[in-house]
C-alpha cells in the first residue's frame, strides 16, 4: 500500500462514517410489542435444564415455565392480597388425577398432553425424568432426597398413562417435593436420541434447548444477553396463558433497569435495590408487589465452636446489641418483615419464621458481656457475601457500629460471591450475616438444614445439641403419622431452644420485590420466588 493511498483511504472512511443513516420505519414492530412481555433482570440462566450441572437460579425460571410437573399448587390470597401458592393444596398439571395410598401415590396422566415436538407425554417419560432427577447428582438429586425420593425403583410404570411412586418411608415432604421445580417431565425419546455414552441423560442437549411439555418453549437463548420464549399453544397443563411471547433481557445496571421501567420500555423487573422500590412505590407510576420470602430469614450467625461465641451469654449479648430497627429503616427502607421485638408475654407459635423477643438494649448487652467475662469486649471479624452487598454492606456497618458500643471491635470481611460458599463450608467464620430460605415451607424443613446436629452446610454456626435434634426428629416423625399434638409441642420446643441458645440471630424476613407496568397483572408468588409467566396478563 502506498502511503498516499493510505492517507486518502483514511479520510474516506472518516467521511463515510458521517453519512447519516436513512430513517425507515415499519409498523409491524409496534404490533409485536403489545403481545410481548419484556422482562429485565440482572442476570440470566446458564443452563435451560434444572437437572444440569450447576444450573443457576435464573435457569430455574426457564425450567418452571417450559416444563410441567405431575402436580402443582393452587393459589390462595397471600400477604397484601397478592396471589400466593397454597402449601397444602395441590392441583394436577400433567396428571389428571392423584391417588394417595398408604405407601405409594398413583398418577393418571392427561391423555392430550404432548411435548413441544408433538410426541405424547407417557408414563415412560415420567419415569425416565424422575430417574434422571435422582441419578444425575448435585442439586436435583439432593432436592429429591429432601422428600425421601432417592431410588429409580421408587418410580413404577403401571401402564402407558399411569405412574406409581412408592414411598421409601412415611414422609410428609414427599408429595410437596413432587411439586417443586426439579421433578419436571422431560421428553425422554427426544433427549435419548441426543444423549451419548458419556452423557447418558442428555444433559448437554437440554442445556441448550427445552424439551418439555410446558406452557412456553425457548426459541432463542443468547447466554448473558437474552432469552426469548414463545407460548406453546397446545399446552395441556392449564388454561392457555395470555402472553404470547416473553423476552427476557439481562440489564446488569440497576439504575438502567429502573429507567427502563419508568420510561415504560420494560414490563417487569425484580431485583432492584430496596431504595428504588420504595421510590417507585411512592411515585405511583408502576405496580409494585412486595411479598415476604416463604420460610426465609436473614440472620446474624455466630460460630459456636469458636470462642468467645461458644458462651451463650456472649451470643445473647450480641443479640441485645443488634440495631434491629435501624437496619429495617436505613438498609431495607421498611421492605422486610421484622423478626425481632415480639411482646414479652407472647406465646411461641407453631410457625416459622416467627419473631424473637430481642430488642436493642445496649445496657443489658453490656451487663451480659461482663457476666460472660468480657467486660472490655473483644475483637472479631464480621463477614458478608459481596454478591449481595446492596443489603449486606450497610447492614454490617450498622452492626459494627452498634457492637463497638459494648466493646466488641469488628473488622468487616467482604467475601466475593464465588468464595462465599467455600468459606461457609469451612465453618471458620466467627460472625457473619447470611440468608436462608427453604423451598418447602415447613418449620422442621428449615430446622433440619439450619440447626440439626448432622451439621449441614446451612448449619453455619456448627450448632449441635441433643435436645434440639430430639425436637426436630420428633416433629418430622409426628408429621409423617399426623400426630398434631406431638408435632406442635416439638415445633414450639425447637423454636424456643433456638431463641434461648441463640446461635443465630434472626433479623427479618426479606421481601421479594417486583415492579410492573400498570397494564401488567397476574403476578403470583411461588416458593421459588421466580416469575410464573403463565398467569401474567398484559392489557
Amino acid at each position: 500500500m502506498k502511503r498516499r493511498d493510505f492517507l486518502k483511504s483514511v479520510t474516506g472512511v472518516a467521511a463515510g462514517a458521517m453519512v447519516p443513516a436513512p430513517a425507515i420505519w415499519s409498523a409491524a414492530k409496534a404490533d409485536a410489542r403489545s403481545e410481548t412481555l419484556l422482562i429485565v433482570s440482572e442476570s440470566g440462566p446458564n443452563n435451560l435444564d434444572i437437572h444440569g450441572v450447576g444450573t443457576n437460579v435464573p435457569g430455574y425460571e426457564v425450567s418452571w415455565n417450559c416444563y410441567d410437573r405431575l402436580i402443582s399448587h393452587e393459589m390462595k390470597s397471600g400477604p397484601g392480597g397478592v396471589p400466593y401458592y397454597d402449601r397444602d393444596k395441590f392441583k394436577p398439571e400433567l396428571a389428571e388425577d392423584m391417588n394417595v395410598g398408604d405407601m405409594s401415590v398413583t398418577f393418571k396422566l392427561k391423555k392430550k398432553a404432548t411435548f413441544h415436538d408433538g410426541a405424547p407425554v407417557t408414563a415412560k417419560d415420567v419415569k425416565w425424568s424422575l430417574d434422571r432427577a435422582v441419578s444425575v447428582g448435585g442439586f436435583p438429586t439432593f432436592q429429591m432426597g429432601a422428600g425421601s425420593l432417592t431410588k429409580p425403583e421408587q418410580f413404577v410404570v403401571v401402564d402407558d398413562n399411569t405412574v406409581r411412586i412408592d414411598f421409601a418411608r412415611k414422609d410428609r415432604l414427599t408429595i410437596p417435593d413432587l411439586a417443586v421445580i426439579v421433578p419436571c417431565v422431560v421428553n425422554s425419546e427426544l433427549v435419548k436420541k441426543n444423549a451419548s455414552e458419556k452423557d447418558p441423560w442428555g444433559l448437554e442437549y437440554t442445556k441448550q434447548q427445552t424439551a418439555g411439555s410446558g406452557a412456553y418453549k425457548v426459541t432463542k437463548w443468547t447466554a448473558g444477553t437474552e432469552v426469548i420464549m414463545e407460548r406453546n399453544d397446545a399446552w395441556a397443563g392449564g388454561p392457555l396463558p395470555k402472553v404470547k411471547r416473553v423476552i427476557w433481557r439481562m440489564v446488569p445496571q440497576a439504575g438502567n433497569r429502573r429507567a427502563l421501567l419508568e420510561r415504560g420500555d420494560a414490563d417487569i423487573s425484580y431485583d432492584l435495590p430496596n431504595k428504588d422500590f420504595v421510590e417507585l412505590k411512592d411515585s405511583g407510576k408502576l405496580n409494585i408487589v412486595s411479598v415476604p420470602y416463604s420460610n426465609g430469614v436473614q440472620y446474624i450467625g455466630m460460630n459456636v465452636k469458636i470462642p468467645p461465641f461458644d458462651n451463650p451469654k456472649v451470643r445473647e449479648a450480641v443479640a441485645c446489641a443488634i440495631p434491629y430497627q435501624k437496619i429495617m429503616d436505613a438498609v431495607l427502607f421498611g421492605l422486610a418483615k421484622p423478626m425481632f421485638g415480639a411482646a414479652a408475654d407472647k406465646a411461641t407459635e407453631v410457625a416459622w419464621p416467627q419473631p424473637t423477643k430481642y430488642v436493642t438494649d445496649i445496657a443489658r448487652a453490656k451487663a451480659l458481656l461482663a457476666e460472660a467475662g468480657h467486660p472490655n469486649g473483644f475483637e472479631t471479624t464480621l463477614s458478608f457475601d459481596l454478591g449481595f452487598a446492596g443489603v449486606n454492606e450497610p447492614l454490617c456497618v450498622l452492626v459494627q457500629e452498634s457492637l463497638a458500643q459494648i466493646g466488641i471491635k469488628t473488622t468487616i470481611n467482604k467475601i466475593p460471591g464465588a468464595n462465599w460458599r467455600t468459606e461457609l463450608n469451612k465453618k471458620v467464620l466467627p460472625l457473619y450475616t447470611n440468608v436462608f430460605s427453604g423451598w418447602l415451607d415447613y418449620p422442621e424443613y428449615f430446622f433440619i438444614w439450619c440447626y440439626d446436629g448432622k451439621n449441614s452446610i446451612f448449619n453455619t454456626m456448627s450448632y449441635q445439641s441433643k435436645a434440639m435434634d430430639e425436637f426436630i426428629h420428633g416433629a418430622v416423625d409426628a408429621a409423617a403419622v399426623g400426630n398434631t399434638a406431638k408435632y406442635d409441642t416439638d415445633v414450639k420446643g425447637f423454636v424456643d431452644l433456638a431463641f434461648k441458645d441463640i446461635p443465630r440471630i434472626p433479623l427479618y424476613q426479606p421481601y421479594v420485590n417486583v415492579a410492573m407496568q400498570k397494564n401488567v397483572s397476574g403476578y403470583q408468588y411461588w416458593f421459588h420466588r421466580r416469575l410464573d409467566y403463565r398467569a401474567l396478563v398484559k392489557a
Binding site: L7, I247, A266, R421
Partner: protein, 337 residues
C-alpha cells in the same frame, strides 16, 4: 515484507506460551471454589464433590494443564460455567460487539481529538488551546461509568432521544445475517437499513462515552507531537520558502507528527477493548470485557483463560499492524524482525 511478518509472528510464539502457562496458574491460584459455587444454593458436601468430579477439578494440576493445552491445540477453549456455552463460541460472538463499539468510539474520538490537537498546537495559548486542555482534562477525569450514566439519564431518561440502553439492538429487531459480526456492516451488506438505523442508534451513547474518555490521550499526543514538529528545521525551511500555512501544517508537519499519534491510538484501542467493561455494564452491551469480569467473579476458569489468550493474540497482531503502518506513513522507518 512477508518474511518480516513471518519472523514477527515466530517471535510471538514464546510469549503466547508464557501467557498460557501464567493464566492457567493464576486462575488456579484464585481463591474460591468453582465446584462449591456451581453446586448451587442448597448443596451438600457430597453434591459439591460430585460437581468437582464432573468438572475434573479433582485431578492433579499437571494433568489438568496437559488436558487444557491439548484441548487448546484442537481449538477447544473449554466451556464457560456461568453462561454454559463453549468459550470459543462466546468469544467469537462477543469480540465483534466490543470491537464495533470500540472502533466507533475511537473513530469519533479521532475525528474530534486530532483536529483539536492540531489547532491547539498551531495556536498555543489561544482559546482553542485552552478548550483542548479543558476537554481533555474533563474527559480523562470523568470515570466512564459516570459519563455513561449521565448520558443515559439525559438522553434516554430525560429527553427520550436515545433508545433504551438494552444492548446492541432494540428488543424487537433481530441481528442481521452475520458476515463480519459488526452489526453496522452486516446490516449494510444485507441492505437492511432499518436494522442499521437501530444498531447505530444503540451505538451512539456508548460510543460517545468511550470517545469522551479516549479523547484526552489522543488530543494531548497530537498537540505535543505537532508542537515538536512545528519547531523543527524542515518546517522553518518550508515556511521560509513561502509555502502556504495550510500546506506547511497538513502536508509537512502533520504527516510527520502522526507516528506517535498512531502509537497512542493502538494503545488506546487495545486498552479500550479490554477495559470498557464499565461501559458494557452500563449499556448491557454483550461484549468481551463484561464476559471476562463475570467469569472472574464466579471463578469460572475457562473464559478467563480464553479472554487473556485472545487479548494476547490481539496485542501481537495489533503491534504488527502498527509497525507495518509506520512503514507506510514514514518511509524512513525500516522494520527489523
Amino acid at each position: 515484507m512477508l518474511t518480516m511478518i513471518g519472523k514477527r509472528l515466530m517471535f510471538a510464539i514464546p510469549s503466547l506460551i508464557g501467557v498460557v502457562i501464567v493464566t492457567f496458574l493464576l486462575t488456579r491460584a484464585l481463591p474460591g471454589d468453582p465446584a462449591a459455587y456451581f453446586a448451587g444454593p442448597a448443596a451438600s458436601k457430597e453434591a459439591i464433590e460430585q460437581i468437582r468430579k464432573k468438572l475434573d477439578f479433582d485431578r492433579p494440576l499437571i494433568e489438568q494443564f496437559f488436558r487444557y493445552t491439548n484441548d487448546l491445540a484442537h481449538g477447544d477453549f473449554g466451556n464457560s460455567l456461568t453462561t454454559g456455552q463453549p468459550v470459543a463460541t462466546e468469544i467469537r460472538n462477543r469480540l465483534p460487539a466490543s470491537a464495533e463499539l470500540t472502533l466507533l468510539g475511537l473513530v469519533v474520538s479521532v475525528m474530534i481529538a486530532i483536529p483539536l490537537g492540531v489547532l491547539a498546537a498551531t495556536r498555543p495559548g489561544s482559546w482553542i488551546d485552552h478548550l483542548c486542555r479543558i476537554t481533555t482534562t474533563a474527559g480523562v477525569s470523568l470515570p466512564v461509568f459516570f459519563t455513561g450514566l449521565v448520558l443515559v439519564y439525559v438522553f434516554y431518561f430525560r429527553l427520550g432521544w436515545s433508545p433504551a440502553p438494552l444492548g446492541r439492538l432494540d428488543v424487537f429487531y433481530s441481528a442481521p445475517p452475520s458476515v463480519t459480526g459488526l452489526y453496522l456492516i452486516d446490516a449494510l451488506i444485507a441492505r437492511d437499513f432499518e436494522t442499521f438505523r437501530s444498531a447505530l442508534s444503540q451505538l451512539i451513547l456508548p460510543a460517545a462515552t468511550l470517545a469522551i474518555f479516549s479523547l484526552a490521550p489522543i488530543a494531548r499526543m497530537t498537540r505535543a507531537s505537532m508542537l515538536a514538529v512545528l519547531a523543527s528545521d524542515f518546517v522553518r525551511t518550508a515556511r521560509a520558502s513561502g509555502l502556504s500555512p495550510s500546506t506547511v501544517i497538513v502536508t509537512y508537519a502533520f504527516r510527520n507528527a502522526m507516528l506517535p499519534v498512531i502509537t497512542t491510538l493502538s494503545m488506546v484501542f487495545s486498552f479500550l477493548l479490554g477495559a470498557n467493561v464499565l461501559v458494557e455494564k452500563v449499556f448491557a452491551w454483550p461484549g468481551i470485557g463484561s464476559y471476562a469480569v463475570e467469569a472472574l467473579i464466579s471463578s469460572d476458569f475457562a473464559p478467563v483463560q480464553g479472554f487473556v489468550l485472545t487479548m494476547a493474540v490481539m496485542y501481537v497482531l495489533l503491534n504488527l499492524i502498527i509497525d507495518i503502518l509506520y512503514g507506510v506513513i514514514d518511509p524512513r522507518v525500516r522494520l527489523e524482525g
